[in-house]
């Protein structure tokens, strides 16, 4: 009996050791520069292109690249929003909604700012507090909301739109304009919403709210509506938009902290810091299975960092200071700067 007990304890200890300190698989991550494309309109950057397109946006330029990461269209405007299936370009006469090949889908008589979120198209007019959702297939206005407070957060998933307001309110609206949630977190001396994200299934809402203290709040949809399931003080004091996102198949939330990123694991709501230099300006899930890439900007430096499933740093590298974001395309990571697209290919050998 005693021997059996020792054996079971030994087995447990070996299992714990195995999971804590996994063996090297012998596989190595290979990172290969694939191409560098200038963000300039060229003769080849026009016309129809069959097949898949990928939307690229940087500053006042946006366009589509083909499978070989060559531009098939490039637009320049201060008011644009782009998705893989459409681009919305706003002008004095209104908004042109175009297909990737440049064909007009619809012309909307509204010169508001177009905003793209996960395939959803919104128009926001900040001087009038008017936010509209547009069907990008037809150009039809799906709904229109008016607010007296500036909109500080906008996210859309699964027919739901998350709206955060500077007056401290959060709303979740569905495509029929029904308000599913009208929530005011409170709990801070200054009420405001500084960051917010919807999970990919639209059932969880992560928020950064208020000042003194600034707080993280997670809401989850239950049978009787959304309920706060986790919250904590963030020890931050941001007075601007704060990056927050769901990653790793919605199992983790990342948000920007002072000089690092805080990760909240949804399984148990455990909090852990991740080192990252400066402001979180981009993130990519699964360029290689179960990896996470983070982009941080601090003063005169932009850093990219790739983390393993266990948050071990696989690589870290500085990028040009004018880097604005990154995109995943199959097993490529596309680094976007004001002037160029740098395409990196990842393979495991």
């Amino acid at each position: 009996m005693k021997q059996r007990g020792v054996f079971i304890i030994g087995l447990i200890l070996i299992s714990v050791y195995y999971f804590l300190f996994p063996r090297g698989s012998g596989k190595e991550l290979i990172l290969t520069p694939d191409s560098l494309t200038s963000l300039e309109p060229t003769e080849s950057a026009t016309g129809l292109s069959p097949g898949r397109t990928l939307a690229i946006s940087s500053g006042n330029r946006a366009g589509f690249v083909n499978d070989n990461h060559e531009f098939i269209n490039l637009y320049t405007s201060d008011r644009m929003a782009i998705d893989d299936l459409w681009i919305a370009v706003s002008g004095d006469d209104g908004l042109d909604l175009l297909e990737p090949d440049g064909r007009l889908i619809a012309r909307i008589p509204d010169s508001s700012f177009p905003v793209s979120r996960n395939g959803n198209l919104y128009l926001y007019r900040n001087d009038a507090g008017v936010l509209s959702k547009i069907d990008p297939v037809s150009g039809r206005i799906m709904w229109r909301m008016e607010y007296i407070s500036p909109v500080t957060v906008l996210d859309g998933r699964q027919g739901r739109t998350l709206i955060g307001l500077l007056d401290g309110r959060v709303q979740l609206i569905d495509d029929s304009r029904e308000v599913l949630l009208d929530y005011r977190p409170g709990g801070s001396r200054v009420e405001a919403i500084y960051g917010g994200a919807l999970s990919s299934d639209g059932s969880k809402i992560a928020l950064i709210t208020g000042l003194d203290p600034q707080r993280f709040i997670l809401l989850e949809e239950r049978k009787n509506g959304f309920r706060p399931v986790a919250h904590h003080n963030t020890s931050t004091d941001f007075r601007r938009s704060v990056s927050i996102c769901f990653v790793r198949d919605d199992s983790q939330i990342l948000y920007e902290s002072d000089g690092y990123v805080t990760a909240v694991n949804l399984n148990g709501y455990e909090i852990q810091p991740m080192e990252l230099s400066g402001r979180l300006i981009g993130w990519l899930d699964n360029v290689i299975t179960e990896t996470l890439m983070l982009l941080g900007r601090k003063d005169g430096e932009v850093m990219v960092k790739m983390l393993s499933r266990h948050d071990l740093t696989l690589f870290e590298h500085s990028l040009p200071i004018d880097t604005t974001g990154m995109l995943r395309d199959r097993n490529y990571a596309i680094i976007i700067s004001n002037d160029n697209l740098g395409v990196l290919e990842f393979t495991v050998q």
Binding site: S149, P150, G282
Partner: protein
């Protein structure tokens, strides 16, 4: 405790509070308002005072705390903001400075009159929100009075019924029934004081009043509180002219009088003798 000590206990907090609230100042040195609060702006109400941008310095209306900064260039993932700075003040107000390029060394707490940034490329807009009442209020009522402004002028007034539209004049004959009174150029002259209330009287009785002092949010959209909530479409027509709808004129003779009160409290009146038959 002596009486003087008791008094000082009562007075000191008052002094501290008033110091914290700070003197209220015009945020734009010129004080020349291009478009006032409540004016027709496209298809919606102007929510604040709009100033011409000439690269001038923009300063804090009162002592406050910076609670929001949106840069002119919007980082990916943020909501477009066109250069916005918002201050929270201790007296329940928030002031917004939209369309400005903020100074890079802006601190979290600012004093009234301290500069926040420069006017950007287009007109910049100053708004004040009453946080406790969830209203955007007319900043002109909370700024030092511009005593040197000449009084408002009443523009052309028209009477409309169906397709029948007439310029109003003294001694005019009108048919009895419901009319729409149209007032032109209410907010067009920025060299004059800003109108804050327009009232219409018929035979000495007030039959309509428009007070441009607060904008609120309702389920149906944004409304001007007059004090009854009225939508933009109720107050303005598609040309941005101010309307008094449903003005009932019964048979007889009477005086139609229009009174306009401006930011300084002065009231200007125009009246017309009308014959209704």
């Amino acid at each position: 405790m002596t009486v003087s000590r008791r008094i000082s206990f009562m007075i000191i907090p008052l002094i501290l509070f008033s110091t914290d609230a700070g003197a209220r100042e015009w945020p734009d040195e010129s004080s020349i308002v291009q478009e006032p609060f409540g004016a027709a702006q496209g298809d919606h109400f102007s929510r604040g005072l709009s100033f011409r941008s000439e690269g001038q310095r923009i300063s804090a209306w009162s002592n406050g705390e910076v609670i929001w900064i949106a840069e002119t260039e919007n980082p990916p993932g943020t909501v477009p903001g066109e250069g916005l700075v918002v201050l929270e003040h201790s007296d329940g107000f928030r002031s917004s400075y939209r369309g400005i390029e903020r100074r890079p060394d802006l601190k979290d707490r600012v004093s009234g009159g301290e500069w926040l940034g420069y006017a950007g490329n287009n007109a910049w807009v100053f708004e004040i929100t009453d946080v406790e009442r969830s209203r955007i209020v007319d900043p002109i009522s909370l700024l030092p009075t511009r005593k040197d402004m000449s009084s408002v002028s009443i523009g052309q007034v028209e009477m409309m019924r169906g397709s029948n539209r007439l310029n109003i004049s003294d001694g005019m004959e009108l048919k009895p029934g419901r009319w729409i009174v149209i007032i032109n150029d209410v907010f067009s002259d920025n060299s004059r004081a800003i109108p804050v209330e327009i009232s219409l009287f018929w035979v000495g009785e007030r039959i309509g009043s428009l007070r441009f002092d607060a904008i609120a949010e309702t389920d149906e959209g944004i409304v001007m509180e007059i004090p009854d909530p009225r939508s933009y479409e109720f107050i303005y027509n598609s040309n941005g002219q101010v309307l008094f709808r449903d003005v009932l004129l019964n048979t007889g003779k009477g005086t139609l009088e229009l009174r306009m009160r401006d930011e300084t409290g002065r009231v200007i009146t125009s009246s017309w003798s009308l014959s209704v038959r």
